[in-house]
């Protein structure tokens, strides 16, 4: 950013713009992920939303997390979803029109949740911790992984292992026993 521009565009404004952009990305992505009936749009929406969230993470002070977010969600989850979509070929399956009341019901429930939690958020006097450390480095994270969250670290690897074996078994084998007519 040049100093000239800095005269006209204050850093706060840029930050605001960036923030609004990020939030916009998040919400727009979320809506795209949820609303269209075409599943591929949804995946794109998810990816967009993830980008937004990653941006928000940056705003919240953790670039590392933003990176991991993009890595895991877009790099792993979204890809996996795309594969699943391709394998299950849902594109050519005709989706019957939605049952309207269900839509309203979903909306109502979400609205109720929104309202009640908004009030909760507003009514709670969130208190700031008395002493606050400002150590945002990744090193600190690494330390924690090897000390206080050591068990957690081991555990999640185990969970992932189980998930992978399980996914292999389920995806590779289940349902293989009985194929509908006409399938090779």
């Amino acid at each position: 950013m040049t100093p000239v521009m800095g005269q006209y565009i204050r850093p706060e404004a840029v930050a605001w713009a960036a923030f609004i952009l990020v939030v916009g990305l998040t919400f727009a992505g979320a809506l795209i992920a949820v609303l269209p009936r075409n599943i591929i749009y949804n995946v794109f929406g998810l990816a967009t939303c993830i980008l937004g969230v990653a941006g928000l993470f940056i705003f919240l002070g953790s670039e590392f997390l933003a990176m991991m977010e993009i890595l895991i969600y877009i790099g792993a989850i979204s890809i996996a979803i795309v594969f699943a979509i391709m394998l299950s070929q849902p594109m050519h399956v005709r989706i019957p029109p939605a049952w309207r009341p269900k839509l309203y019901l979903s909306f109502a429930v979400s609205a109720v949740v929104f309202v009640s939690f908004s009030v909760i958020v507003l009514r709670t006097p969130w208190a700031v911790a008395l002493e606050r450390s400002q150590d945002w480095t990744v090193k600190r994270l690494g330390e924690l992984f090897l000390t206080r969250y050591e068990l957690l670290f081991e555990l999640i690897s185990l969970a992932l292992l189980v998930a992978i074996i399980g996914a292999i078994i389920t995806a590779a084998a289940l349902g293989g026993g009985r194929k509908p007519e006409g399938e090779p």
């Binding site: 429930v109 109720v112 009030v119």
Partner: protein, 630 residues
């Protein structure tokens, strides 16, 4: 009068009289039943010895000074004590003799009457049971003991009436007798409770001495009337009088013993027993008089149209009992008891005689009997005549004297109407008695054959049987003839040997009653006795009355209606419906509703995943909202 304790002899005699019949019952019923002869022997011995004991006691205490009392606690619970024991005083001794005497005679008689019956041993067991209950009733020292045996007597009556239970009418009659007397006993029982709760003392002596002073008049009257309810039931007084005629479905000796001489007289005995107590309440005595009068007249009219010999005597029993109550109600203690005594003799005799005929001719209809040649049975025929005359009050038989005492008691009353009604009753009695006698003596061949057999196996069993049955008749006939003379002696005995206050002697009363009896007998002669008489009563020309009398004033019909339409039709049916529909149905309905709710809830599990998710999230969100609102 303070009672004294019995000495050893008195104690053992009284206990012998009370205990032997029970022993006999158990022995016969549970042990010797298969062996008929042995059973009869046991039973006879066990009823003969109490008779001897009774006579011994009576003779030994002819001039007793104070009542003899012996008691032990039978049951005690929660402040209520029931005593078991005996109270020996003139009244109970006299009654004891009557009961044991008739009982023994009837047992002898039954040897013949029940010969060949397959249930003979059981029959004797029941007779023993009855004897035990009746003796214990008579000797009871307390009202509760009296009540207990009162009920047991009712039970024996039930068993004996329904003895030939394969006959529907017999079992029906037994049931009717039991339930109707039970209805009366309801009052009796409540009366006892009232006395117990207010007086705390149920001993007969205590009641007679203290009740009048310790109870308020209202309570006294109430309890007396309640007790009298029991009497009404047991002695078949109006309005509970219809069971007694039906009770004639039992074997004739049973009728003689229970339903004429002893058990039904227990009511009279009870009122006499508690006479000082009843005297405490003039209203109560007034009711006794009224009920007695109504009953006497009503049942006399019924007797006038009956053609079943036992029915006639049954109605007559009811009527005579009513007559006794009139005597008692009028304040004539001796009158009632004396009539009870004589009545026991001649009425038992009447039944036993009838039993011979029934046994012989296998019919209950005296028209048929007469036509079949009843006159040829000399002893029964003569006895029947003697007893019938005594019943009608023919001089010098016992009935005449006792009837006179009752009438003179009535004459003491300020209102002459009672006397007139008594005389009317006497006339009616004479009429129906002589009606029967004339028919029996002077049979007509024109009557249509009718009637039914009580004794299925009737027929001839030979001379031995005949004489076994005839012997008791003779004994009773003699008694009937002689008891009239024993009146004054009895009177002084019952009054504890004290000199009697000179009662007003109504000379004209004798004349009046003779005239009335003669009129009744004369009318009977005109219609039944004289040669060429149609043997049809004047009542048969008045169908309305005839039907009324023949149908027992429609009392039975009323009861039947009440039973069918109120007890069964209304209460029983309604309660049953309520039970099925409301009480039970309500529960079933509740259960069905629960199941329905389960079914509805299981619809929630529709298989659609997202509706489940809705519910989950919604509930949690509502829980959040709840927190915010509260």
């Amino acid at each position: 009068m303070t009672p004294v304790a019995p000495n050893g002899g008195e104690l053992s005699l009284a206990l012998l009289a009370m205990g032997l019949p029970l022993l006999s019952f158990f022995l016969v019923f549970f042990v010797t039943r298969p062996r008929v002869t042995l059973s009869c022997a046991v039973s006879l011995v066990c009823s003969g010895l109490p008779l001897l004991a009774a006579i011994w006691l009576l003779a030994g205490h002819w001039r007793m000074e104070a009542p003899i009392l012996w008691e032990l606690t039978w049951m005690r619970g929660g402040g209520v004590a029931v005593t078991f024991g005996f109270l020996l005083d003139p009244l109970s001794l006299l009654m004891l003799c009557i009961v044991t005497g008739v009982s023994f005679l009837v047992q002898v008689y039954s040897l013949g009457y029940m010969a060949g019956d397959p249930g003979k041993a059981k029959y004797y067991a029941f007779l023993s049971l009855f004897a035990w209950s009746m003796i214990s009733l008579v000797l009871a020292s307390g009202l509760m003991q009296l009540y207990i045996f009162w009920e047991l007597v009712g039970l024996s009556s039930y068993l004996l009436i329904g003895f030939w239970h394969h006959k529907f009418s017999a079992s029906q009659a037994g049931k009717k007798a039991f339930v109707m007397t039970r209805l009366g006993d309801l009052g009796f029982f409540l009366g006892i409770i009232v006395l117990l709760l207010n007086l705390g003392d149920l001993s007969i002596l205590g009641l007679n001495q203290q009740a009048a002073t310790r109870l308020t008049p209202g309570l006294l009257t109430a309890s007396a009337l309640l007790i009298f309810c029991g009497v009404v039931g047991k002695s078949a007084q109006f309005p509970l009088l219809t069971w007694l005629p039906d009770a004639m479905e039992g074997p004739t000796p049973v009728s003689a013993l229970l339903h004429s001489a002893t058990m039904v007289a227990a009511g009279v005995y009870l009122v006499s027993r508690l006479f000082p107590f009843f005297q405490g309440s003039p209203q109560a005595l007034g009711w006794v008089l009224v009920i007695g009068t109504v009953t006497m007249l009503l049942s006399s009219t019924m007797a006038m149209v009956a053609s079943d010999i036992k029915q006639v005597w049954a109605y007559s029993t009811v009527s005579q009992l009513g007559f006794m109550f009139m005597g008692l109600g009028a304040g004539g203690y001796f009158a009632g008891v004396y009539h009870l005594t004589t009545h026991a003799a001649f009425k038992a005799l009447l039944f036993l005689c009838s039993g011979v005929f029934i046994h012989h001719y296998a019919t209950n209809d005296f028209f048929v009997m007469a036509r079949s040649g009843a006159r040829s049975l000399k002893v029964p025929m003569l006895s029947l005549t003697v007893a019938g005359a005594a019943l009608s009050g023919v001089w010098p038989l016992a009935g005449f004297f006792s009837k006179e005492t009752v009438l003179s008691a009535l004459a003491e009353l300020p209102n002459p109407a009672w006397l007139w009604l008594g005389l009317l009753g006497a006339g009616l009695t004479a009429y129906y008695t002589f009606r029967l006698l004339f028919v029996m003596w002077r049979p007509r061949r024109t009557q249509p054959p009718a009637g039914h057999a009580e004794h299925g196996e009737g027929g001839h069993h030979g001379a031995a049987v005949y004489w076994v049955m005839a012997a008791p008749l003779l004994v009773l006939a003699v008694l009937t003839a002689l008891l009239g003379a024993a009146g004054p002696a009895l009177e002084s005995f019952l009054a504890w040997g004290r000199p009697l206050p000179p009662g007003a002697h109504h000379g004209w009363l004798v004349a009046a009653s003779v005239v009335v009896v003669a009129a009744g007998a004369g009318l009977a002669w005109l219609e039944f006795g004289r040669a060429g008489a149609a043997q049809q009563g004047f009542l048969s020309r008045i169908p309305g009355l005839w039907n009324l009398f023949a149908n027992r004033w429609y009392l039975d019909w009323l009861y039947r209606w009440l039973l069918d339409h109120v007890v069964y039709g209304l209460f029983s049916r309604l309660f049953t419906l309520n039970d099925r529909r409301v009480v039970d149905g309500g529960i079933d309905g509740f259960c069905r509703a629960t199941l329905g709710a389960g079914w509805l809830l299981s619809l929630l599990q529709s298989g659609l995943l997202q509706y489940n998710l809705f519910t989950m999230v919604l509930v949690m969100a509502l829980v959040g909202l709840y927190f915010l609102l509260v």
